[in-house]
């Protein structure tokens, strides 16, 4: 082997060493880069989870207050017939829903008590003969047919099975409206994930079907509710 060969060999070894160390650096760099990728993945994951769980519901729903304050608890003590005193069935079996001014006037023709809200109600609505533009929490979209008579009269269900213990509430919660569909938040439920603790937490189709399945044994066909 000639000297030049040695040199060559040395050179080769050097370059081999260099190559190894370069590889080592590269591996280190790759490890770093992998961390960054994971980091970015996690950032993406976390950010979108925050958006999906926290920001999105805030953006999706607008919030309004009812036109006047109202206590179901106080009224429930005053009336004789429970819920049906104001939310009654008409003679033809249809459900009256939210009371009209006509029912309110039965008691509120004059200001009752000393609350400023009451005075405002009598002045603005009773005296002017204007209907109160109540915001209805439990109104289903128009594509849904629902009969109160079938559930309450025939099925002998209690109002609070679906509406919750509303009779004990002292005030009306703010009304949240879906900006896309115009439907009240109460239908989907306040848990954006759709999880519920109580029957009355949600009023979606699956919730109807669940109860139908339990009590009637079948989930029922589309046309039962979507006429």
């Amino acid at each position: 082997m000639s000297a030049s060969d040695d040199k060559l060999q040395e050179g080769a070894t050097d370059s081999a060493i260099n190559a190894v160390s370069r590889n080592h650096e590269k591996n280190e760099q790759a490890d770093n880069a992998g961390g960054i990728v994971i980091l970015f993945f996690i950032i993406g994951l976390a950010a979108s989870m925050i958006v999906g769980w926290i920001v999105f519901p805030k953006l999706l729903y607008s919030q309004k207050d009812q036109p006047i304050s109202f206590s179901h608890a106080i009224h429930n003590l005053e009336v004789e017939d429970g819920c049906e005193s104001c939310h009654f069935f008409r003679e033809d079996g249809t459900f009256s829903g939210v009371p009209k001014l006509e029912q309110c006037i039965d008691c509120h023709e004059e200001v009752q008590g000393e609350s400023a809200d009451e005075a405002y109600f009598v002045e603005e609505y009773v005296n002017k003969g204007r209907e109160v533009p109540w915001l209805i929490y439990s109104r289903q979209p128009d594509c849904v047919f629902f009969s109160h008579a079938a559930h309450v009269k025939k099925g002998e269900m209690e109002c609070n099975t679906c509406h919750g213990p509303i009779e004990d509430s002292d005030n009306l919660k703010p009304y949240q409206e879906n900006r896309l569909t115009g439907v009240s938040r109460d239908i989907w439920g306040y848990n954006i994930g759709g999880f519920k603790k109580n029957i009355w937490d949600r009023m979606k189709m699956d919730d109807c079907a669940e109860c139908h399945k339990k009590s009637l044994g079948v989930k029922d066909a589309c046309f039962v509710c979507h006429k």
Partner: protein, 754 residues
């Protein structure tokens, strides 16, 4: 740390994965599906308490009872009123669609004053106060000129308080020119006055007849009371009553009849007399009735002592089945068998008046057909023609007249009705255009139009428009922007029939004496006013004796006072059926087979029931080789109310194809002209021409073509305007020489390829 492309990839993968671990995509998907199933721009019917209001339909003269379902204050459905004497819970397609006339786009929403050229559609909104002020001032000025008779009014009826108020206004103003839209009822009124000596409302007890001989009456094509007739048809089927339909075209009535006799148009009177001939010859007539109650059946003497041939002799001499067969184009055997069947039936009835009864009939035919009823004693008897006493509940004190009024009211009517020539007629609206166009200055200076649309419904639209253009002031009370309203100077919109009180009396064709009261179903939607109120306000604004003649505070007060003790029942039930008096007294007025009132030698145009006078159509036979006849269908309203969108959708494409009217034509005639189904052709008459389509039909006599009435509107909405051809625009009226009414049954025409 170096951020590179992979970092961004990682970020987006992380975000994508993360977002799927949140409810966002699933919730949005759900919301999207709710949104797409409930488009925010689709109207959703209001929810609320349902209620019903009972009232009376005002869309035709039948006066069906209606029951309107409401949700809160919105009317949502019109149904027939169960138990009502006219329709007993049933309703026709027009009545059913009435809500479109309430909520639809053809309403006049506030009083309007014309600002552009007449008919140009340029209007200015004006307050009620101002419009009453302006019109009353104009009327006062016109009256001061000493010619109060230049005020005229056109109205669909002379019954009901609103019409009476309008008529009373004219009377105290000093004008006799209250003009009524003519119909077959006008012809019957004249015929019964001449032959029965009484002019009640003519009714037909068709449900109880066992043989119905109909000379072209469209019993199942909207005649008089469509709902009642559909029910009567079922009764006939159950009872095996026989219906014979005589007309040149296979109408629905003809198709559903037991026998269809295709007759040459315009020869109905000859056939009636041919049938009478057989009945008399075979001695099948009701001898008892004819001898006891008839006059002029045998030879008779007039006041001067002159002897005249009796009905019997004239008919026996001139109308043998062979003669009649030649005139009418019907087999001798058919004439004889129909005559025998008619005569041998226990409760037969004969009636005439073509189509839905909207058009009058010539007196000649009317009397000949009416004589058939007399031959069988089918007058004021079960199953026959009945003369129902006219309503008499509007009893107002005579109004005080001043000099101008007394003088004006004595002048001859502008249409000549009740004058020397047309003594029997009460109103001849059909003559108005001719009279106006013949004079340099219009004999009417102001015209009030209520419940009528003469520019559309009268014959020869061009002449009608010309005549109207010569009237300086036209005031329309129409709730809709119809043809006449759009050609007026002021529109004082009435409430629609679902927003107002309105009384009506026994409809034509009904055998029951009926008073009905329509009531507001909903509060008025717009700034409109009951015409009765407007007339009262106008009278009050004019002051003096005119104001005095209208002592009522408003229309409602007037109505309540007028109906008196009936008000309560009417307000509760909507109608009152008067109890029938004792058996009708036919003896007091004999049935005049001779029709002396119009059959004296002193009259040039004398006409006897036993005569058939062929009426020749205008125009040259070689230039116009075909004859165009109109026909009615239940799916098209041809009167002053336009067909609503729902109903126009039910019209078949053999009546209206795209925007063209179709004419029925026999394939034989079509082959001669080289035409096939659906061809677009030009239909020309001596008066006008129009583009139509050909519909081949075996159900029409060769040489004839038939066009449906009720199309060809230029007003109303896009659903009706510009569709088809108006038959009324294609012919000039033929004036009956005796009654003065329009007796047109057809018009000469030709067809050429477009």
């Amino acid at each position: 740390m170096k951020i590179d492309r992979r970092s961004f990839l990682a970020l987006s993968i992380g975000s994508t994965a993360g977002i799927h671990l949140t409810p966002l995509p699933w919730k949005l998907m759900d919301d999207m599906s709710i949104w797409t199933q409930n488009w925010p721009w689709t109207p959703v019917p209001q929810d609320g308490a349902a209620s019903y209001v009972n009232s009376v339909c005002g869309l035709c003269t039948a006066g069906c009872g209606i029951r309107v379902r409401k949700i809160e204050n919105r009317a949502v459905k019109i149904e027939g009123l169960p138990g009502h004497p006219v329709n007993d819970g049933r309703i026709c397609s027009l009545g059913l669609s009435g809500l479109q006339l309430l909520y639809g786009g053809t309403r006049v929403k506030t009083p309007l004053k014309r600002i552009g050229e007449r008919g140009a559609g340029q209007w200015q909104k004006i307050s009620w106060k101002q419009v009453i002020d302006e019109i009353s001032k104009k009327l006062s000025e016109q009256r001061k000129s000493g010619n109060p008779q230049t005020l005229g009014a056109i109205c669909n009826s002379d019954r009901g308080t609103t019409s009476h108020l309008l008529n009373r206004f004219l009377t105290v103003y000093g004008s006799p020119n209250f003009l009524r839209t003519p119909s077959v009822q006008s012809s019957y009124e004249i015929a019964t006055t001449i032959m029965n000596g009484s002019s009640g409302t003519v009714g037909f007890d068709l449900e109880n007849s066992d043989y119905i001989l109909s000379f072209g009456s469209g019993l199942l094509d909207g005649w008089v009371s469509p709902v009642r007739m559909i029910r009567a048809h079922s009764i006939w089927k159950d009872k095996k009553a026989r219906v014979v339909q005589i007309e040149p075209r296979l109408s629905h009535t003809a198709a559903k009849a037991d026998q269809w006799i295709a007759i040459k148009p315009g020869t109905n009177a000859a056939l009636a007399l041919g049938i009478a001939h057989v009945i008399i010859k075979e001695k099948l007539y009701d001898k008892n009735f004819v001898e006891k109650y008839g006059f002029g059946f045998e030879e008779w003497k007039d006041e001067k002592g002159q002897t005249h041939k009796g009905f019997k002799q004239s008919v026996l001499e001139n109308y043998t089945p062979a003669n009649v067969a030649e005139i009418t184009g019907i087999d001798v055997a058919a004439i004889i068998s129909v005559a025998k069947d008619f005569a041998k039936s226990a409760k037969p009835v004969a009636l005439c008046g073509s189509g839905d009864g909207g058009a009058p009939v010539n007196l000649n035919e009317m009397m000949a057909v009416h004589a058939l009823n007399a031959l069988k004693g089918a007058i004021n008897n079960k199953g026959g023609l009945q003369i129902v006493p006219n309503p008499d509940y509007i009893l107002w004190p005579e109004s005080e007249m001043d000099k101008t009024a007394s003088k004006g009211i004595q002048t001859e009517r502008v249409d000549g009705a009740g004058g020397k020539k047309y003594a029997q007629a009460r109103s001849l609206l059909n003559r108005l255009p001719e009279v106006i166009n013949a004079s340099s200055e219009s004999p009417l200076q102001t015209l009030l139009v209520y419940n009528a649309n003469p520019i559309y419904t009268m014959a020869d639209s061009v002449a009608v428009k010309e005549a109207f253009s010569k009237i300086p002031l036209i005031v329309s009370f129409s709730p809709y922007m119809d043809e006449t309203a759009s050609y007026s100077d002021y529109i004082l919109p009435n409430h629609t029939y679902l927003e107002r009180y309105e009384d009506s009396a026994t409809p034509y064709g009904s055998v029951q004496q009926l008073i009905s009261l329509a009531r507001p179903v909903v509060d008025p939607l717009f700034n409109t006013k009951q015409t009765g109120d407007v007339i009262i306000s106008l009278a009050k604004a004019m002051g003096g004796h005119i104001a005095k003649a209208f002592p009522w505070k408003n229309y409602r007060a007037c109505l309540e006072k007028t109906l008196g003790d009936k008000w309560k029942t009417l307000a509760e039930h909507g109608y009152i059926v008067a109890k029938k008096d004792k058996a009708p007294d036919t003896a007091s007025a004999k049935f005049d087979f001779a029709a002396q009132a119009v059959n004296t030698d002193s009259k040039n145009d004398a006409v006897a029931p036993a005569d058939f006078k062929p009426a020749d159509l205008d125009g040259d036979v070689t230039a116009f080789p075909l004859v165009l006849i109109p026909y009615d269908t239940m799916r098209l309203a041809s009167g002053f109310v336009g067909t609503p969108p729902f109903v126009i959708k039910t019209v078949g494409d053999y009546i209206l194809k795209e925007n063209d009217s179709c004419v029925d034509i026999n394939p034989q005639t079509a082959a001669k002209l080289g035409l096939t189904e659906g061809n677009k052709v030009i239909l020309t008459t001596p008066k006008n021409k129009a583009s139509v389509r050909v519909h081949l039909s075996e159900g029409i006599l060769p040489g004839l073509i038939a066009l449906p009435r009720g199309l060809g509107h230029s007003a109303y909405d896009k659903f009706l305007a510009g569709k088809g051809v108006n038959f009324n625009a294609l012919y000039a009226p033929m004036t009956d020489p005796v009654s003065g009414l329009d007796m047109t049954w057809g018009v000469r025409a030709k067809i050429s390829k477009a």
